[in-house]
């Protein structure tokens, strides 16, 4: 393996994390808002589904994703009938897997931040003429700002670090699905400890720096938790 493939793994991991986090913020925000406000009876069921990736072994999740996204599955058939390429062992498949796997890490901080937005603030906005959507964007989102930062960082970091799900549905195709964590695993397997050190050490330093930034930001914004 040439060092070039290491860079490719890093690039792949970062783009996977960026894309997955963006999708997660877009999907997770309405879901978290709904969870924070709803009084519906089956809410615990939804909460449990969202939290499943926290407790499931990644290989279990990966296994079922592999079956669900495989070429013979209903989803796989639908995609190929629409002219799409295969989902498993592809970057798209990795994105789908990451979004599901990292869902609780984005939804939970957002839900907690939205829950901390008081009903009174929203009522104040309502009596001042703000429609529900307007109240959400002008009051709830700014007040939940620390939650968004936490959610984005956790979602990003968690996607970078995932291994089991990626291995199950993505395999180890250089430039396509061979992400950072898999590259490290390969190096260790091949006893290339120096290369493993180089990648692992950089990840440790990066993670540490990101957390320092988050904690200092959250202090200045107040109310955020990680």
């Amino acid at each position: 393996m040439n060092p070039h493939s290491d860079w490719e793994a890093v690039r792949l991991s970062i783009s996977l994390a960026l894309i997955s986090t963006s999708i997660l913020i877009l999907l997770g925000t309405p879901l978290a808002w709904w969870l924070s406000r709803t009084k519906i009876k089956f809410r615990p069921v939804i909460e449990a589904l969202v939290a499943m990736p926290l407790v499931l072994p990644p290989t279990v999740l990966g296994f079922y994703l592999l079956l669900a996204l495989g070429p013979e599955s209903p989803i796989g058939r639908l995609v190929s009938s629409l002219g799409g390429s295969q989902l498993t062992f592809s970057f798209t498949g990795l994105v789908i897997g990451s979004v599901i796997y990292s869902l609780p890490f984005v939804v939970h901080p957002l839900r907690d931040a939205f829950q901390a937005v008081s009903k009174q603030s929203l009522e104040a906005a309502a009596v001042l003429g703000a429609a529900p959507r307007d109240r959400f964007f002008s009051v709830a989102v700014p007040l939940a700002k620390p939650g968004f930062l936490t959610a984005a960082v956790l979602g990003f970091a968690h996607t970078i670090g995932e291994f089991g799900v990626v291995l199950m549905i993505g395999g180890n195709i250089p430039g396509k699905t061979r992400v950072l964590s898999i590259a490290i695993f390969d190096h260790v397997e091949g006893l290339a400890y120096g290369r493993a050190h180089w990648l692992s050490g950089s990840m440790m330093i990066m993670s540490f720096l990101i957390l320092v930034v988050v904690y200092s930001k959250n202090r200045s914004w107040a109310g955020g938790r990680l």
Binding site: Q120, S121, E123, A124, A125, A126, V127, L128, G129, A130, A131, P132, D134, R135, S138, V139, P142, L143, K145
Partner: protein, 355 residues
């Protein structure tokens, strides 16, 4: 601009059954014991809570009926909450502009500068809302509500969470808003002092029902209503400053029942003041006394007598259209042969000048 509202609904522990009409001018105070449904009623009128069997009409505009419900953000009202409820992520100035930006220019009642001046907020505009005092916060909240183009102001105990000092600081602002802008106000209050200073009309609630509604001087003194039977029962007199006695430091106040003297000369000539006269400070005599230290003796007619307790009666008096209350002993009523329609003299021992 009259408000008409009626509700018949269950609110958890009690039932709210009300039919209420609020005049299009002046300040109407909604009062009653804690938990009787005042705030619930105010929230229902605002549309913050939606109840079945509700009907709300403001002038010719229906806000709620059986099949129709205007959501709260489309109602032209200025709501002030018990705690100011400012947006913590915005400056004072942005808080004020929040409602303004969402109001059509044609519907605006006051300009930004007007509201700032009315509530004396110039020095606070750039500040963050977190380091304002309780009184300052509530002033910002009042101005913010005015800037959202209201046709009606709803205040939910705006002073309840403030200390005595902040209350005193804010009261003049509350009094000036309806006068300056001519907007009708419906406000929930717990304090007889606020009511005496601000209210023109009273709506008295008990157990989710409205038990009486009318002009404040009448409601305070009606013997069939609870206010006249409180320990500090009082009558309210509106008078005009007519002159001063510089030697004795007295001020003459004119009202439709005659003249009243009060100590001190700090009031402005011609200004209107409210006076509170407590039932316990009024005694009755058949003839005007000459040898007495009491300055204020008013000719009155007894309009009603009710038993207060084993020893005392509560007497309602009419002073040329202005009602007064007096608490007298059973023995005095018997000795002086006090009956309804009798003309007597009210000796007023103490008068509190408000505002």
């Amino acid at each position: 601009m009259t408000l008409f509202a009626s509700f018949d609904c269950n609110l958890g522990s009690f039932r709210l059954v009300t039919e209420l009409q609020v005049p299009g001018r002046g300040v109407s105070a909604l009062i009653g014991p804690s938990g009787c449904g005042k705030t619930s009623l105010l929230r229902a009128i605002a549309g913050l809570d939606r109840h079945q069997n509700g009907y709300v009409k403001v002038e010719d505009e229906i806000w709620q009926d059986k099949k129709f419900f205007v959501p709260v953000h489309k109602r032209a009202l200025g709501y002030v909450f018990q705690n100011a409820n400012l947006f913590p992520h915005m400056s004072v100035s942005d808080n004020l502009k929040y409602g303004l930006k969402r109001t059509d220019e044609s519907r605006r009642t006051v300009s930004f500068d007007n509201a700032v001046e009315l509530m004396s907020l110039e020095s606070l505009l750039a500040r963050s809302t977190c380091d304002l005092s309780g009184g300052e916060k509530q002033r910002v909240a009042m101005a913010r509500a005015l800037l959202s183009g209201p046709r009606l102001l709803l205040w939910d105990e705006p002073l309840a969470s403030l200390d005595t000092e902040s209350k005193a600081e804010i009261l003049p602002f509350l009094a000036s808003v309806p006068k300056e802008l001519g907007l009708p106000v419906l406000f929930v209050s717990h304090s007889s002092d606020e009511v005496a200073r601000l209210a023109d009309n009273l709506i008295i609630m008990a157990d989710g029902r409205i038990v009486g509604t009318g002009p404040v001087s009448e409601m305070l003194t009606r013997l069939d209503l609870p206010l006249s039977h409180q320990e500090d029962a009082e009558a309210l007199v509106v008078a005009t400053v007519a002159g001063f006695d510089e030697v004795d430091h007295l001020t003459t106040l004119q009202f439709n029942g005659g003249k009243i003297l009060v100590t001190g000369t700090g009031l402005a000539q011609g200004s209107q003041v409210r006076l509170r006269i407590q039932a316990r400070d009024v005694s009755l005599t058949l003839e005007p006394q000459s040898g007495t230290s009491i300055l204020n003796v008013l000719p009155v007619t007894i309009t009603e007598i009710a038993t207060e307790n084993d020893a005392q009666y509560l007497v309602r008096l009419d002073c040329n259209g202005t009602p007064l209350l007096s608490r007298v002993s059973h023995r005095s009523v018997r000795k002086l042969e006090l009956v309804t329609g009798k003309k007597v003299y009210a000796q007023v021992k103490s008068i509190a000048v408000l505002s």
